[in-house]
């Protein structure tokens, strides 16, 4: 069944859209990430113009993260104080990201920056995750008991000025690294159409030493709020949010995410992280190849200026 997407101005198969939404939603439920880093490239490869794909997936990420954020909130797994700092700086970063997005699109370099951004970000995060999870799995095999990092271990990052007390996370740390993380994720997220959960979680765990019981919830709350703001920014700035496209993806995504979350219970944490790392690296390699290999067509075209 074909459905006409009014902003993308092309018709696509409804079942295909709901299907990729569900498939990515399954993976996002399984790994506890937003899934934007898979969905945006998938849409671009299936013919949706890159600006529309990025802006619409932003809306989808809001939906995908909402149910998770709510259930964490009910369990008390969100440090609202910390999330507020992250969101405020994140929205600021998103302003920068959306503005950069418009400049790059007009200069014809948006595709390049999306590819480079995904390659560097996913390649880096994927490699780190793979190393970490392989180590954990090997230690497990040898029978070494892996102890969680103690929350009161401090690094130089915590010693920076402007310290704030975050009660729920039992942290008394400088607010500067929190703001930098928020700013960076806001900028990158709005530019690439990703929630940034897969950067946020490691950053909170390894840099800020946020305890495990509030990491996922806080990250999800931050993703919901920041992506909501980014969606509105994209709608105002580039008018490339396709609400029908986003809705098809949302419906598939929220359904898939529930099944993914139940499937995730059968896998162990480090196995999940290892699988996610491989997935992330695969996407990074795909983008890397598109930059390095000779393109099928060295010519491309685009419409300039305002949409009618």
């Amino acid at each position: 069944m074909q459905i006409y997407l009014p902003i993308a101005e092309l018709s696509m198969n409804l079942f295909f859209l709901v299907g990729i939404g569900a498939a990515v939603g399954f993976l996002s439920g399984l790994f506890g990430v937003g899934g934007g880093f898979l969905l945006t490239p998938l849409l671009i490869f299936s013919g949706v113009p890159a600006p529309v794909a990025v802006a619409s997936v932003t809306g989808q990420v809001v939906a995908a993260s909402t149910s998770g954020a709510l259930s964490h909130y009910r369990r008390g797994g969100i440090d609202l104080h910390l999330a507020m700092y992250l969101v405020l700086s994140g929205v600021l970063g998103a302003f920068g990201g959306v503005a950069t997005f418009a400049v790059l699109r007009d200069a014809g370099q948006l595709d390049l920056f999306i590819s480079l951004g995904f390659l560097i970000l996913l390649g880096f995060v994927g490699t780190l995750m793979l190393i970490e999870s392989t180590r954990a799995i090997l230690k497990q095999r040898k029978g070494i008991v892996v102890r969680d990092r103690l929350p009161n271990q401090h690094s130089w990052i915590h010693g920076l000025p402007m310290r704030v007390r975050f009660k729920k996370s039992r942290l008394y740390i400088s607010v500067l690294p929190v703001l930098v993380i928020g700013l960076f994720i806001g900028f990158v997220g709005s530019l690439l159409g990703i929630g940034g959960g897969f950067i946020m979680v490691p950053a909170l765990v390894y840099l800020l030493r946020v305890p495990g019981n509030v990491v996922i919830g806080t990250s999800l709350a931050q993703v919901v709020a920041m992506m909501a703001a980014t969606t509105i920014l994209h709608a105002v700035q580039s008018q490339s949010v396709d609400i029908l496209l986003a809705f098809c993806l949302m419906v598939g995504g929220t359904a898939g995410a529930q099944f993914g979350a139940s499937a995730g219970k059968y896998l162990r944490g480090e196995q999940l992280r290892g699988l996610l790392a491989i997935l992330v690296l695969a996407v990074a390699i795909r983008f890397g190849l598109s930059l390095v290999l000779a393109p099928a067509d060295v010519f491309s075209m685009a419409v300039l200026g305002a949409r009618q």
Binding site: I3, S65, G108, I232, M301, L304
Partner: protein, 253 residues
């Protein structure tokens, strides 16, 4: 488009007296409506070649050839070229084409080169490449190279095309032409220019307009995205929040 119309008016004045003939023509639909299930639209163009008004002849003698040119709304388009730099491929060169048609299809009753000469085809913008011609002062070689590539890309998208068997003559002076507008046909005002040729010369011409537009819900969505972007964005977010929440409730983890 204005340029085209001006040219059309001038040429009409020059050519008409030589071989007087009149074209009575019609388009099957004057609006193509884009609905949620829009998957392209079939259109037909038909017409009859008649003696000019005031002429004593009852019928005009053929054989005639007809070309129908369908032009979509114009846009500013760029063609870009990737080159290999420092190990990666990136866009390094581009040419901008102002007021470039977003849709261009030529339907003809015979091979274009058998109907008339290339000069007539080019000056009447019947060949796709004619739209990539640049005003003087621009690097014409580069614009010609990029123009050819742009036409090729548009053809691959199904937005440009030439069908040299697109027009059928049902009698000596009655023709019909069929065109399938693709689903990615850009919305906006379209113009269908019909040229009648006899012995390689234009003896009659006519233009008709039709519009491709979104209607109903699609039109509402596309308009609100442009006219009320803030509200549209907020509604997108609310929709996402409700869908996410509903998903969580329905499936009760």
């Amino acid at each position: 488009m204005m340029r085209l119309l001006a040219l059309f008016a001038i040429l009409f004045g020059l050519v008409a007296p030589a071989h007087a003939a009149r074209l009575v023509s019609q388009v099957s639909n004057d609006t193509v409506e884009i609905t949620s299930s829009f998957d392209g639209e079939r259109m037909s163009f038909f017409g009859q070649i008649m003696p000019d008004a005031g002429s004593t002849e009852k019928v005009v003698e053929g054989p005639f050839q007809t070309i129908v040119v369908v032009l979509g709304p114009t846009q500013n388009r760029v063609a870009r070229q990737k080159t290999h730099n420092f190990g990666i491929w990136l866009n390094t060169d581009q040419v901008e084409y102002k007021n470039f048609p977003s849709y261009f299809h030529v339907l003809a009753s015979a091979r274009l080169k058998d109907i008339t000469d290339v000069t007539t085809l080019t000056t009447n913008y019947i060949l796709p490449e004619a739209h990539t011609l640049m005003p003087s002062g621009v690097d014409w070689w580069k614009s010609a190279v990029f123009g050819r590539e742009l036409v090729r890309l548009m053809t691959e998208e199904g937005l440009f095309g030439i069908q040299e068997n697109g027009v059928n003559f049902l009698s000596d002076n009655f023709y019909s032409a069929r065109l399938t507008l693709p689903s990615n046909a850009p919305p906006g005002p379209y113009i269908a220019l019909t040229y009648v040729f006899k012995n390689g010369e234009i003896i009659a011409r006519k233009s008709e307009g039709f519009s491709v537009r979104k209607i109903g819900f699609e039109r509402f969505l596309a308009l609100s995205a442009v006219q009320q972007p803030l509200l549209y964005g907020i509604i997108c977010v609310l929709l996402a929040l409700v869908t996410g929440w509903l998903g969580g409730v329905l499936f009760k983890r």
